[in-house]
Symmetry: C2
Subunit: 221 residues, 2 copies
């Protein structure tokens, strides 16, 4: 593996990685992500940016073969959740309470040594935005949006580390909640991403990537 | 810049980039992203994965100083939208119609040479999932989720290219729609990400990053 200490890569090298990645349909069940690589991906998840920094999520990672074996039945029979190395279940806060906001403020205070008093204005701003939201806003919808930032971040991080991924919305989220013991915790399953290594015989790996032309999805002002 | 042709970097190098990034509060207005780098970021946006590959988005990129000057007033007076090099406005489809699905299928057929007839089952599956969605599902909410994948992807891509970014939910989306001429197009503003280069005097750049401990947001099964 070519590498460098700062991690900075050129745009063309980045596009090489993004073109390499695809939604892996068949993982090699014999290959596991190394501890070193997984620790980096775990930290990449932790470092995901979120609105106000509120991090309204938990990432539930399934590596147990026994639990993975139960996942295809609640995932439209897709085998990736059984054969991949790490199954990341993205969960979001069902609601956002003052306690959730305080938890974040306490963390800011701990990490930066900021007195809580000086964060009072920030707290009021956050409380206000949840109490007087725009039309159509729901706390869970907002939290789910943040979770999708984490999903986008994770897929790109995996790609630059040469690790395969398969994002999956095709799951029965309520059954995931039951199986993973999330009921009553305040977190609900949103989406899944399987990580691991492609099977050499996954025919989807060599298919041309289908995207609209840039001119059809990017406009300039 | 250290670099390599494949773009693969180690986990530690990746974390170096993710630690380097932050929500830039002050951009250097004199610095512009080069055409070469921007073309890569534009393509990174285009390559964003989405559910079913439907790409229910348009990315409206503001680089005109005249338009950028009008953005702080509809962005809670945040100056980043004026001072950054490229302001990416993420917009999502308000609804998903059969025509949207057909557009995607036609693209698959064009890119891969797949006969449209052989995509009929895929079409029915997509139509069915939008006609019989789970509770709480809305097409715009779903499309917005996909847009947040693009946001997460873009922020990570920028970080590995040593380009600064600031994600912004604090905008008046309806005013963006008006200003950018989106009304009636079927696309609505969701979120913004400013790209460019940090001012050397942005004091936020050196603040400790605040995240919950991994043990508090990552669980294993």
């Amino acid at each position: 593996m070519a590498d460098n200490s700062t991690g900075v890569i050129s745009g063309s090298a980045l596009l090489e990685r993004l073109s390499w990645r695809y939604a892996c349909k068949s993982f090699d069940p014999s290959r596991t992500i190394s501890d070193t690589d997984w620790r980096a991906l775990e930290q990449a998840l932790v470092l995901t940016p979120s609105s106000y920094g509120l991090q309204p999520w938990k990432f539930v990672v399934v590596t147990s073969p026994e639990v993975k074996a139960q996942l295809p039945a609640i995932s439209w029979n897709q085998g990736q959740v059984r054969d991949g190395s790490h199954v990341v279940v993205f969960t979001a806060r069902e609601s956002v309470s003052e306690a959730d906001i305080d938890r974040h403020l306490n963390r800011i205070s701990t990490v930066r040594g900021t007195p809580l008093e000086s964060l009072a204005g920030f707290k009021q701003m956050m409380l206000g935005s949840f109490k007087n939201p725009p039309a159509g806003f729901t706390p869970f919808g907002w939290a789910a949006n943040q979770v999708y930032i984490a999903l986008g971040n994770l897929m790109t991080c995996a790609a630059v580390m040469n690790i395969d991924a398969c994002p999956m919305e095709g799951i029965v989220a309520s059954k995931y909640d039951e199986l993973l013991g999330l009921s009553g915790t305040g977190y609900k399953t949103v989406v899944v991403c399987v990580l691991g290594y492609r099977s050499i015989d996954d025919k989807y790996a060599s298919q041309a990537k289908v995207r609209f032309a840039a001119a059809d999805v990017v406009e300039y002002r």
